[in-house]
């Protein structure tokens, strides 16, 4: 080997080391990535695992996107952030996006990730509340503030008048329920319900179990008042600018991939979310991941696709219970981007999860 070849070899070696050290945002290709900001509706948790997985697994980067995930919280108005251009896309429950649109924003729902509602009404067995009609005269907890239409519709269907029933504003926790201030409480199956199972029954010193509880599911055909929840939305003006529609499609494709990854690797996804800064306990995080998967999978029309019946039911209930003054204007949702994203995934990927099976997750005290 002559001298110049040796020097060339050293230079190549140095270049490789330099490239390895400057991976991530500092690499030259990062400049070519399209920046996209996603605004969540709550703090990092497995409810948003698909997006964190797409980040972690490099699906966004592979699609040419540099995605920043913005955390939400109780005082963060995710819809307002996107409407004012603080983020390009956001995650929200469908009725809330529609309400914002009625208020004058141009938000458009572009993908329906959750196919089912995660809301339940939970009560202790001794209250004997197994159907909506049993809530008559009871202390009924609800978060209100736009979280009540499923409950109100169920009460109405059961022949009760929600305005005459004893509906009590519930905090976003289960303290009042466990202390007996509420006979029935609103709970997300992936979060507050699990919290009850992570709590010690002070009388026995052991954790509460599913056998202690009655759970009403709004998806159950006998109740049938479920509304659409986590969906991806964007500003209409943003979507119509330049190649943003194409960017949105790439974003959806990579996000769908993330959700498919989480369906097949729930434990890995729970860990990814914890790494992203979620402070939930290990067993609680996995429980949430598992239940979120069950809200998405199976997706009969493919992940992220719209179901007109579910959409219309959401609009009907939202209109009837004052969330919306009138049915939304045309263009409140568009199906083309999610369809294109689904097509881009190709036929070799299982986008429907027809054979999806839930895990059995054991919850520990305090969610540890």
């Amino acid at each position: 080997m002559n001298k110049s070849a040796r020097i060339a070899g050293m230079l190549v070696g140095a270049a490789i080391v330099a490239a390895a050290c400057s991976s991530g945002s500092a690499s030259p290709s990062a400049a070519a990535l399209i920046p996209v900001k996603l605004q969540l509706q709550w703090v990092p948790q497995a409810q948003f695992a698909g997006y964190y997985a797409a980040l972690d697994q490099g699906y966004y980067t592979a699609a040419g996107l540099n995605v920043t995930v913005l955390s939400g919280g109780p005082d963060v108005n995710n819809l307002q952030v996107v409407a004012s251009g603080g983020a390009d896309l956001g995650v929200s429950w469908v009725p809330k996006t529609l309400q914002s649109r009625e208020g004058g924003t141009d938000l458009v729902t572009v993908a329906q990730v959750f196919q089912r509602s995660g809301t339940r009404m939970v009560s202790f067995k001794d209250k004997s509340i197994v159907a909506p009609k049993d809530m008559a005269g009871k202390k009924i907890g609800s978060w209100l503030g736009g979280n009540e239409p499923e409950l109100f519709a169920a009460l109405t269907k059961a022949g009760l008048d929600p305005t005459k029933e004893n509906v009590i504003k519930q905090n976003f926790d289960m303290v009042a329920f466990v202390q007996g201030d509420l006979d029935a409480a609103q709970a997300m199956i992936y979060n507050e319900y699990a919290q009850v199972l992570e709590t010690k029954n002070p009388k026995t010193g052991a954790l509460f179990t599913p056998a202690d509880l009655n759970v009403m599911d709004f998806n159950d055909p006998s109740i049938g008042t479920a509304m659409l929840q986590d969906a991806i939305f964007a500003r209409d003006t943003w979507l119509k600018q330049g190649s943003n529609a194409d960017t949105a499609t790439k974003f959806l494709t990579a996000s769908f991939k993330g959700w498919i990854y989480c369906r097949d690797n729930p434990q890995k996804c729970a860990d990814i979310v914890t790494k992203a800064g979620s402070q939930l306990g290990t067993s609680h995080q996995l429980w949430m991941m598992n239940e979120i998967n069950a809200l998405i999978w199976p997706s009969p029309n493919g992940i992220g696709q719209f179901d007109t019946t579910a959409w219309n039911q959401t609009v009907d209930i939202a209109t009837k219970y004052g969330i919306l003054k009138a049915a939304p204007s045309d263009g409140a949702y568009r199906t083309d981007l999610a369809q294109a994203a689904l097509a881009a995934l190709g036929s070799s990927v299982d986008t429907k999860g027809a054979s999806f099976q839930k895990l059995t997750v054991t919850l520990n005290e305090g969610g540890k």
């Binding site: 109780p74 005082d75 289960m174 010193g205 860990d271 800064g277 939930l280 290990t282 969610g367 540890k368």
Partner: protein, 309 residues
């Protein structure tokens, strides 16, 4: 008699009863006092639980202790008032994917303290500036002080989201919220303090044709120092509160605000974690107030002090 003369000048409570070790070691005395009060609170806490809490079940190794309290008060239940040892034990539990809770909370407290300090400094300067303007202009004082007072009647939880929308979600917005809470006590104290100078000295300076800035710098400001420092201690505590409240609408994950939010939402499953966070919020405020006291002791050493404040 020297002792009775001393007793006549110094208020009785200020002297230690017996001038032994506690007098020679004021810091040690303070620590013993604080520790004693802490023990008393702990005793009252657990006594309430023993009388009227949830059943006690303590198992250490082969030893088990059970006790069913005779009464049942809601305020003493395990959810309302967790056992002190569960609060201490949870400090050593690791945060998911992270360090033990105490270390996590210390990190969060430092983050919050940093923002609080910026807000505090800005608030102190703003408050002092307003005070200087007001003592020199009766017109501005009458026109603006009611607004300054009015600003403090608006709940901070209403102001914080507005600031965050206007300035963007970053630690700067949070510091502005802290500033909003801190400028007020400083401004009010500055108005009083800048007027609390010795009138005779003021007349003397004027007879030498001293300018307004000279009177301000040489007379008014030194006279205001004790007033300012009392206000700064209040402001230091308020800036920590303002920062924690401001962190919520900003969605800032690193500080104590997010810890409060998370542990509140999961309160029922682990009340001790919120209690531990509450304790660390209080500690953060105390540390900040302590720093201000330290600065006060350092800055006012051997300086001019008015006869009575």
């Amino acid at each position: 008699m020297t002792t009775s003369a001393a007793a006549g000048i110094v208020p009785p409570g200020l002297l230690a009863p017996a001038g032994g070790w506690s007098r020679r070691h004021p810091l040690l005395r303070q620590a013993v006092l604080l520790g004693g009060v802490l023990l008393l609170i702990a005793f009252a806490w657990e006594a309430a639980k023993w009388l009227a809490g949830d059943p006690w079940r303590i198992a250490i190794g082969g030893f088990t202790y059970t006790h069913t309290p005779p009464l049942a008060w809601r305020i003493a239940s395990d959810i309302s008032l967790p056992h002190l040892w569960t609060i201490v034990a949870t400090l050593f539990d690791p945060v998911p994917g992270g360090p033990p809770l105490w270390l996590f909370l210390t990190g969060a407290a430092f983050y919050t303290l940093r923002t609080a300090f910026v807000g505090f400094a800005a608030g102190a300067l703003l408050g002092l500036g307003l005070g200087i303007v007001f003592v020199h202009s009766r017109f501005l004082e009458r026109a603006l002080v009611p607004w300054v007072v009015g600003s403090q009647t608006v709940p901070i939880i209403a102001i914080a989201p507005i600031v965050v929308v206007a300035l963007g979600a970053s630690w700067i917005s949070v510091a502005v919220v802290a500033t909003y809470l801190t400028f007020f006590p400083v401004a009010i104290a500055a108005i009083r303090g800048l007027r609390a100078y010795d009138r005779r000295a003021g007349e003397l300076m004027r007879s030498y044709a001293a300018s307004t800035p000279q009177v301000l710098w040489k007379l008014r400001l030194p006279a205001s120092v004790p007033y300012l420092f009392s206000a700064l201690r209040v402001a230091a505590a308020a800036s920590v509160v303002g920062t924690i409240v401001g962190e919520l609408p900003s969605g800032i994950p690193e500080g104590l605000g997010r810890a409060v939010l998370n542990f509140t939402q999961y309160y029922v499953t682990a009340p001790e974690r919120l209690w531990a966070t509450v304790a660390s919020c209080a500690m953060t405020g105390l540390v900040f107030v302590g720093l201000v006291r330290f600065a006060e002791a350092f800055l006012t050493r051997g300086r001019y002090r008015p006869a009575a404040v």
